[in-house]
């Protein structure tokens, strides 16, 4: 149950994020989830969109460097301890998390946590075994 995420290289400079987001807006692409990892020099914009291939094309046409990566998206009950449980499972399996970000689903009952583990297949196996509900790309696109 890998989910496609796109990541975009941004210079840590005024107006860069806006330019990327604007390009998507122009192409009528709705952003489902977003996170930015930044350093003093550059940032990495990570996005969940309904059609990652198309978003990649649009951004590349606007001269951005873009990559498509696999990540894991899990459903977590939107209440205290939800994320803690997931991380507990991964820690117990000695699984390193590269990055993580979360967003709340529209109806507000559930939170979606996007996880990139060091070994993505192994991450999926561990979470599946613990009966954590995993989301597919289709699930994300209809959220």
């Amino acid at each position: 149950m890998k989910v496609k995420q796109i990541s975009v290289f941004l210079e840590n400079k005024k107006g860069r994020l806006k330019k990327a987001v604007h390009a998507l807006a122009e192409a009528n692409i709705n952003i489902r989830a977003l996170s930015i990892a930044d350093t003093s020099e550059f940032g990495i914009l990570r996005l969940m969109v309904p059609d990652p291939e198309q978003a990649k094309k649009v951004l590349e046409e606007n001269n951005f460097v873009v990559k498509l990566n696999d990540v894991i998206a899990v459903e977590v009950p939107d209440r205290p301890g939800g994320l803690d449980k997931i991380l507990g499972i991964l820690t117990k399996a000695d699984m390193n998390v590269e990055y993580i970000y979360a967003f709340v689903e529209k109806k507000g009952e559930k939170a979606i946590v996007v996880i990139r583990t060091e070994d993505i297949n192994e991450g999926i196996r561990v979470l599946k075994e613990a009966k954590v509900p995993l989301l597919s790309s289709e699930d994300i696109s209809v959220l």
């Binding site: 990541s7 290289f9 990892a37 550059f42 001269n63 460097v65 990559k67 590269e98 990055y99 990139r116």
Partner: protein, 432 residues
Amino acid sequence: MIWNPKAECMDEEKRRKIQLKRLQDTVKRAYENVPYYHKKFNELGIEPEDIESLEDIKKLPFTTKQDLREAYPFGMFAVPDDDIIEVHTSSGTTGKPTVSGYTQADIDLWSEVMARALTMAGATKKDRIQNCYGYGLFTGGLGIHYGAQRIGATVIPISAGNTKRQIEIMQDFETTILTCTPSYALYLAEALQKENVEIENLKLKAGVFGAEMWTEEMRNTIEERLGLTALNIYGLTEIIGPGVAMECHEKNGLHIFEDHFYPEIINPETLENLPPGKKGELVLTTLTREAMPIIRFRTRDITTLRKGECPCGRTLIRMDRITGRSDDMLKIRGVIVFPSQIEEALLKIDGLEPHYQIVVTRPKYLDELEVQVEASPALFSDEVKHVEEAKKMIEEHLQREIGLRVNVTLVEPESLPRSEGKAIRVIDKRKF
């Protein structure tokens, strides 16, 4: 193909005789007609008659860009205004431009050396030469133009800029030879790729690239991306324009047309002459220029002269590609660095785009060298850690190659300035 075998394949003794005769004439004309040289000669206590052998050239004064600037605009002319039929100026890369004047005989000479140069690149009557050097005061455009016409090739005087049109013409007119700066050649290659033009469908066979420093790595990239043989041309406004020297298909140095331009290599610090095979600053003396005889012009370009016959059959002396300038070389924390070294090192890295910019600063007391390179899919990842590793890899590679600590900054694709003329590679923000 050799345009003028008599001149280009002459035996050395004969050439030296011609050179001496022409040098003596030049010195005499300069002394008699250019007040600047008259004064200089008097100060040094020399007269034209003192030049009895080619070695005596060492007695003559150097001419610098500064001297030419002080003579701005027409102070170096050795003929009456009536005889001047064209003027050009240098591009002013490093300051106020210098002026060059031409008589009809000078234009004929220029056409001759450019015809030799273009023939060296394989140009014949049948070729279509797309000339993207700027037409105007810059010598590149018209210099190539005169040479192409002398050969009887078809010249497409498209000049610089308007890349879309360049590509259209290249396809429709079936251009066979491309003439421009090497950085513009790269830019064109990129544009062709974007327009999905397959190089197999182009008729390009050779490119005559000059007017800026470039490297062997850059040549390889251009050749691969444009599907042509990329050759180096050299010249400078102060001497005549392009056509002072040109590389043949052997690619083992640029043949200097030394029956018209006499080359020397000096140590830029001590000003002593260096023998062939030694690296130093190129000094040129015009042997046949009418309007503006120039004696021992310090080009500031760093190169090496090589003697010996070339497999192409030419006996003309060869100069290595320019590796730097005696004046704009960078001294970073006491270490001499030429931008070409950084370029060479960068282009050895797979996945890196050949666009870069060097920024030199001195935040406090120490120089900092920053090299900006464009991020590419090969360097980018969704993880900060990996992007930083890529950056560090480039930094370490540069440090190994040039022996200096370098800060690498990854910038967005297409964010570094593309140039249609001379690329600005170095931004020196230090105040001296």
